[in-house]
């Protein structure tokens, strides 16, 4: 169905910010039961990424799976030196099922990097992020960037049970202080997370809040941020067709200057100001 074409040099005077390229699969393995990690060998030109940006992926067509549109996926890791691009994904439907079929050596058509990522303010020393589930994929590069910039990072990692807390390890490896909360231990409720954060804010240990969480997480963090005047950013999702800003299918509503505006998640986002985002 899709046209499998190989790295068209798409005209000399394009901006050269976003590329459609054929990457090569290095590995594609199950991590932690629920998630899969895809490691691609990708050309340097697409590895100039920002944390929070995403790629738009052309999932492979076969007799069993025939996804048509591309699928948006956060960058889980970008390593220009190693020429690697990582994705962490959960098998949800036709597209991700097709992705799960990718084998070492297969080519995989990807387009990116896309969208606006997280920003770390020059004077923000203490960053706090709250991640759950696949949201980890979106926030991992932020931790890496925080370390590069020498900022302190606290990561609150939420999961169903302690054994799926792979994020904890990852953030610890990146030098973050990690707090784990789980459903099975009854520690992942909003009230409890709020209390943890409020406590740190009281100690002046939070300059910015980051998340890509759920509705409840958004509402809770908005409340905290507003109350204490702490800036925050959230990565949002929306169904996408083009992924680059042309089709206007991926709009969401935002509160800005007392009015409701529509913004494209693929272009103005996927990372938005925490206070402007609207619960849904």
């Amino acid at each position: 169905m899709q046209v499998n074409h190989l790295d068209v040099e798409a005209g000399a005077s394009a901006n050269g910010k976003v590329f459609e390229v054929e990457a090569t699969v290095k590995s594609n393995v199950v991590v932690n039961g629920e998630y899969r990690k895809l490691v691609l060998a990708a050309p340097a030109k697409v590895l100039n990424c920002q944390p929070g940006q995403f790629f738009h992926l052309l999932c492979p067509v076969s007799a069993e799976h025939q996804p048509y549109l591309r699928r948006p996926m956060s960058i889980y890791g970008y390593y220009p030196e190693a020429g690697e691009l990582h994705f962490l994904y959960k098998v949800a439907g036709e597209g991700t099922r097709a992705m799960a079929m990718l084998r070492e050596g297969d080519t995989f058509n990807i387009m990116g990097p896309l969208g606006k990522g997280y920003v770390i303010g020059a004077d923000w020393q203490n960053l706090l992020l709250v991640a759950r589930g696949v949201g980890l994929a979106t926030l991992a590069p932020l931790a890496q960037e925080a370390r590069r910039l020498g900022r302190n990072l606290t990561a609150i990692c939420s999961a169903r049970s302690p054994d799926v807390l792979m994020s904890a390890e990852l953030f610890r490896d990146m030098g973050a202080e990690v707090i784990t909360v789980t459903d099975s231990e009854g520690t992942s409720g909003m009230d409890h997370i709020r209390a943890i954060i409020a406590d740190r804010i009281a100690q002046n240990r939070v300059d910015a809040l980051y998340t890509c969480g759920s509705n409840r997480m958004l509402t809770m963090l908005q409340g905290l941020g507003a109350e204490h005047g702490i800036p925050g950013q959230i990565a949002l999702e929306q169904q996408m067709a083009c992924g680059v800003g042309m089709c206007q299918c991926c709009v969401r509503s935002f509160r800005r200057g007392g009015k409701i505006t529509h913004e494209r998640v693929c272009r103005e986002g996927p990372v938005f100001d925490l206070q402007e985002a609207m619960a849904w």
Partner: protein, 314 residues
């Protein structure tokens, strides 16, 4: 060596490949050089600001997609101040797609948008005519004729009428728009469709129904392009399901003077650049000097009896 230029009325395009309205914007300049395209066609704009349809606005169906974006629009002022100037940097004809819910508002918009930098106006008559019974202007020859007539009076720019596959009167509508002064036809827009999520039992589009585009639309839009090319004298621009060079050639042979590429750009953003390249190669491989030598060369008198190719013995 091969000549890719094609003429749409008094406009000469460097090549016959251009984007379809609503599947293209300035943003694509991040990925390809917009300067290589035959024309630039912008997303339909309305006079007033509009919000567009509720989400979800797209979904996929087997090998194709549905959309119910609607026409979110920042209004004509924003368009004239921000969008048109962006395209000044390219030496490529700019075609502006417009729409409205009444013939008078349509004409006013047409007049106001006839500004320097605009080479042609594409008239999206697939939107409901709220002055009549809410059926789109493009559904009936009479309403298509009436609105085109008003628009013709409102601008000296070339007017391209974009037809709808939802009508049962394709050639009648085509003839009516020609007669009312259209300079070219774009054939066609998306086809009204539906998809339902069997688990939630909700329609997959927030707007219940939406337009089918992509490969599934091709045989239908190609048939319409052929019917139109046979019945009108003005150029026909083919649109619907084009993603490969074979698709482009098929439309040209059917009688299209140029083609628009829509959904395929979502799948491969470099599609149009590749098609221009492929077209050049196709023509030179086949020793065809000019794109125009292909246009309308369908051997429709010889269709039947092609039994000979059934021989197994070579």
């Amino acid at each position: 060596m091969v000549n890719l230029t094609t003429r749409i009325g008094n406009l000469t395009l460097a090549n016959p490949i251009m984007p379809a309205s609503g599947t293209f914007s300035e943003d694509l300049a991040d990925i390809i050089d917009l300067g290589v395209l035959g024309a630039h066609v912008t997303k339909t704009v309305t006079r007033e600001k509009r919000g567009g349809n509720p989400t979800p606005r797209v979904c996929e169906v087997r090998g194709s997609m549905l959309n119910s974006i609607g026409i979110p629009s920042k209004g004509i002022d924003h368009f004239i101040q921000n969008v048109i100037p962006f395209y000044h940097r390219y030496d490529v004809p700019l075609v502006v797609s417009i729409s409205a819910h009444s013939a008078d508002e349509f004409a006013r918009l047409c007049e106001e948008i006839s500004v320097p930098g605009v080479s042609a106006i594409e008239v999206n008559i697939s939107c409901p005519n709220i002055e009549e019974d809410g059926k789109a202007f493009a559904m009936r020859p009479s309403s298509a004729h009436a609105v085109m007539k008003k628009l013709r009076g409102a601008s000296d720019l070339p007017l391209w009428a974009k037809l709808s596959p939802n009508t049962g009167e394709t050639t009648e509508v085509a003839l009516a728009t020609q007669e009312a002064g259209a300079d070219a036809l774009v054939v066609s827009n998306t086809l009204l469709s539906m998809a339902i999520d069997i688990h939630t039992r909700k329609p997959k589009l927030g707007n219940l129904m939406g337009g089918l585009s992509g490969p599934a639309l091709k045989p239908i839009a190609l048939r319409m392009a052929y019917q139109c090319a046979k019945s009108v004298d003005i150029p026909v621009i083919g649109c619907g399901g084009i993603s490969t060079i074979e698709d482009v050639i098929e439309y040209l042979i059917a009688g299209a003077t140029a083609v628009q590429v829509g959904t395929a750009t979502f799948i491969n953003p470099t599609t149009m650049v590749r098609l221009i390249d492929d077209l050049r190669h196709f023509l030179s491989d086949q020793n065809i000097a000019n794109v125009s030598d292909l246009i309308g060369t369908v051997r429709d008198a010889d269709a039947a009896d092609a039994v000979v190719f059934m021989e197994a013995a070579p």
